[in-house]
């Protein structure tokens, strides 16, 4: 019997194999959205837990990776909704920004704050499409929507962000002195 069928029947060994096989991908997807390694680990465990609990709903002939990614995205969106806007989006940057000279620290923080005020679904679409440059069809699949809807969300995110930055007196692309 194949692995996914055994998992759907509740075999713990099959689940362990799937966890070891997919935990890295799930974590990588979540950390791109929440940008906090520690929170991303917690959300990955929660995603795996929900996957296990929902095993009976999984069709063994389906795409496990896509299903897992959708559960992970829903959890990440919920996390962004719960997070207070003043909480840092960047707990510990993995690497020092290489282009500090382009955008001043103060400007970066204001852009982050403006970004955090966007609705969670717009944040997810914008960060995955614009910052992480993930393919639109993968983002759409993870969000359970169409490519057109993702493009619309990115468009709305950019428009709102531009308005907020204008309000704050920030012109993207222009270095402040």
């Amino acid at each position: 019997m194949d692995l996914l069928r055994r998992f759907a029947l509740g075999e713990i060994d099959a689940f362990e194999t799937l966890v070891r096989q997919f935990q890295g991908d799930i974590y990588a997807w979540i950390v791109r959205i929440v940008r906090d390694p520690s929170m991303a680990e917690d959300l990955t465990v929660e995603t795996l837990w929900r996957i296990y609990r929902a095993r009976r709903q999984f069709r063994p002939d389906g795409n496990f990776a896509a299903w897992a990614r959708r559960i992970a995205t829903n959890l990440a969106v919920d996390h962004l909704r719960r997070r207070r806007p003043e909480q840092s989006l960047l707990a510990e940057p993995a690497a020092a920004p290489q282009s500090d000279h382009l955008v001043q620290r103060e400007t970066r923080e204001k852009i982050q704050q403006a970004f955090r005020r966007l609705p969670a679904k717009l944040q997810v679409a914008a960060i995955l499409a614009l910052v992480e440059e993930q393919p639109y069809d993968e983002i759409a699949d993870a969000l359970g929507t169409s490519v057109g809807a993702v493009k619309l969300r990115v468009f709305r995110a950019v428009r709102i962000l531009r308005k907020q930055l204008n309000h704050l007196g920030i012109k993207p692309g222009v270095e402040r002195t």
Binding site: I12, W49, I127
Partner: protein
């Protein structure tokens, strides 16, 4: 909104959100296993409803126990 505007916002976002390390630092299976142990499988509510219904039926119609046993 022009394509140039989009590019500017994209660049501003990229500079504001430095790359994150997407490598998982540890194996999460031990944590998962602890979570599984702490939350043993529960009987779903509809199974309890079924048990309750069956018990009620057998209480009012005890002769059905024989029919039920025959079909087991």
């Amino acid at each position: 909104m022009t394509e140039h505007d989009d590019r500017e916002i994209r660049e501003a976002l990229k500079q504001s959100f430095p790359p994150v390390n997407t490598e998982l630092r540890r194996d999460l299976w031990p944590t998962m296993l602890r979570k599984l142990d702490a939350h043993p499988a529960r009987v779903p509510w509809y199974d309890w409803v079924l048990v309750g219904l069956s018990a009620s039926v057998f209480m009012f119609f005890p002769q059905l126990i024989l029919v039920f046993a025959y079909h087991l």
